[in-house]
């Protein structure tokens, strides 16, 4: 029997290289891991886990109500009828998780962009096959995916729960239509909040400042718009500037449900105008990010 000494000498690499796509995938993966606190200290996992749990909690409660309703029905009590009055439809479900969604968005993008500016990681990323555009696309996709955890996940759980308990859409076609609406609604909210939070995060290297700025614009702006409409008697088209109402109003339109804004409104804001405002905000958000990153000096 002979022993062999293995050395860790330098080994050249002659295998395949994954190119820009591989680099983008790696950035996206690491970004999502860091947002969720994976491979990081315990304290960094607490916030995302709590907010995600808060986003899913109402949905799980409503699914529980449908389960309980069916059980009571089997015992001869009017459980199902009661449950039907208690549980929300898919559009209403978004209204109940709005706080968790906004708070999570305020946390994710600053966590994703600010440390790269503050540390030297941005310079290292751009010294790799990535350029400013591919770097930002990787980051935006990662942020959108993370925000989708709280915008897409809860309604999907609701759909599955309702379907299993017989509260869901009737028939395959209806079910697929509801699924498509859920995905579209989640995309609307995710892309808008991603664009806005990325824009705010691109302006500063401080996470807290970016989060505070985002909350000030979204929540503060929403409150101001609400006050001006209800107390100041201004037109309800001011809701086009309300970054909470705008995406949620679009969600109601996607599900073809009457929204709190349209039920009593004499002249509801046309859907085309809502869509135009949505895209305008989207373009503005990404334009700010793009402008800011074009101006960032990496080497001096």
């Amino acid at each position: 029997m002979t022993a062999r000494i293995a050395t860790r000498g330098y080994r050249p690499y002659s295998g395949e290289r994954t190119g820009v796509a591989g680099a983008m995938t790696s950035v996206g993966r690491l970004t999502m891991q860091r947002c969720l606190g994976i491979h990081r200290p315990l304290r960094t996992k607490v916030f995302p886990v709590v907010v995600i749990a808060l986003a899913y909690l109402p949905t799980l409660v409503y699914v529980g109500v449908t389960v309980l309703g069916n059980r009571l029905d089997r015992q001869g009590l009017p459980g199902r009828t009661t449950a039907m009055t208690l549980v929300p439809n898919y559009a209403q479900n978004y209204g109940q998780i709005v706080l968790a969604v906004v708070v999570f968005s305020a946390f994710v993008a600053p966590e994703v962009l600010c440390p790269d500016q503050r540390t030297g990681m941005l310079g290292l990323y751009l010294a790799s096959p990535l350029n400013r555009t591919t770097y930002l696309v990787s980051k935006a996709v990662a942020v959108a995916a993370m925000v989708s955890v709280v915008t897409l996940g809860p309604p999907l759980v609701l759909l599955i729960g309702y379907s299993m308990q017989g509260y869901g859409p009737q028939g395959f076609g209806e079910w697929m239509l509801t699924l498509a609406r859920i995905v579209l609604a989640a995309m609307v909210i995710s892309t808008l909040l991603t664009a806005l939070s990325l824009a705010m995060s691109s302006l500063t290297s401080r996470r807290a400042a970016a989060s505070a700025g985002f909350l000030a614009i979204v929540v503060g702006g929403s409150s101001l718009c609400g006050l001006l409409i209800t107390q100041g008697g201004m037109t309800n088209r001011l809701n086009l500037l309300n970054l909470v109402t705008l995406p949620y109003e679009l969600v109601y339109r996607i599900f073809d449900e009457p929204s709190p804004l349209t039920i009593n409104a004499e002249a509801p804001v046309p859907t085309a105008l809502l869509v135009a405002a949505f895209f305008a905000w989207l373009v503005l958000g990404y334009a700010v990010v793009s402008w800011r990153y074009r101006r960032l000096a990496l080497v001096r």
Binding site: R8, Y10, R17, R34, H39, R40, L124, A127, P129
Partner: protein
């Protein structure tokens, strides 16, 4: 020798400040020192090689094409270790190096092994799972080197790799860079403002002074030679010094007792021979004076001034 980086009339300005002025050079294979004082344009030149900056005039090619036009493909073959030490403090060293491998195209299933090997290679194998924020400056410098070389780049750019290191860590880092250059076959460009570091590590040099290329090519004898020799004499220092002075060499007393003398190496312009020859001639002269005057030589130390003084004396 294949040309890795070529510059023609390369000029870069930041506002009114000219950082590189009409630079012309070719960097071939080997271990190169990019030498210059702070603000001489070393980091800017690296930024241009990577395509992170655009030349204002002239052109620069890395691997035969423009980094601005073909940046991603070029950067995939370049390992870059920046000067700064700021990285995510809670990221384990191995995750950082693995991520750098993946960024430069190494598939995920190979990246972990290569990252681990690179960290062992820079003597951080035992520390590879430690967070970057808990590592010392010296260890961080080695992590940066591991991250820059783990994906087997064709060109390794090291910006002040010994910045913040104590003398023993510096020696170890320079030895490591020499080792990388020796076994990997990578072209290495090491930016430094310390002549001594470049001298010990590199076989070729590109000297930048105020944005102008002062010297290019093999480490020149003129850069290796000291400007003076400091000698401590045991015996009659005056007669020893006078004997040398009579041969036209400047001798100054370094201390009041007069036993320590600083003997200037004649400049190449004042003698027909090269500075290195002048240095050797002076050694012979000192030996002869010691024999003639029957004095002992306790110490003999070459004295090198900084690059700035050297540049000033040469221009």
């Amino acid at each position: 020798m294949a040309v890795v980086v070529r510059a023609e009339g390369l000029t870069k300005r930041f506002g009114n400040r000219v950082v590189l002025a009409n630079a012309e050079f070719e960097i071939g294979e080997g271990v190169w020192g990019l030498l210059g004082d702070n603000g001489a344009g070393k980091t800017t030149l690296m930024g241009l090689m990577l395509g992170l900056l655009t030349p204002d005039e002239g052109k620069l090619e890395t691997f035969g094409s423009s980094p601005r036009r073909n940046g991603p493909a070029i950067r995939a073959r370049i390992g870059y270790s920046p000067e700064h030490q700021l990285f995510p403090g809670d990221l384990p060293a191995i995750d950082f190096v693995r991520h750098m491998c993946e960024l430069h195209g190494i598939p995920r299933n190979h990246s972990a092994t290569r990252a681990s090997d690179a960290l062992w290679w820079v003597d951080l194998g035992e520390e590879r799972f430690r967070a970057l924020g808990t590592l010392s400056v010296g260890q961080c410098q080695r992590v940066k080197l591991a991250a820059a070389m783990a994906f087997d780049p064709a060109l390794l750019l090291l910006d002040e790799p010994t910045d913040g290191l104590d003398p023993s860590q510096r020696d170890a880092m320079l030895a490591l860079i020499s080792r990388v250059g020796g076994v990997s076959g990578m072209t290495i460009v090491m930016a430094s403002h310390l002549l001594d570091e470049v001298e010990r590590t590199c076989d070729r040099v590109l000297i930048l002074d105020g944005g102008v290329v002062r010297e290019l090519g093999p480490m020149h004898d003129s850069l290796r030679a000291p400007e003076a020799l400091e000698v401590t004499i045991d015996g009659d220092a005056d007669s020893f010094a006078a004997w040398i002075e009579r041969r036209g060499v400047v001798v100054t007393r370094s201390e009041p007792s007069g036993r320590r003398l600083s003997i200037a190496v004649p400049s190449s312009s004042s003698s027909a021979s090269s500075p290195a020859n002048s240095h050797r001639d002076l050694l012979a002269l000192i030996q002869e004076s010691a024999t003639v005057n029957a004095v002992g030589i306790r110490t003999l130390t070459p004295v090198r001034t900084g690059l700035a003084e050297r540049m000033a004396s040469r221009s």
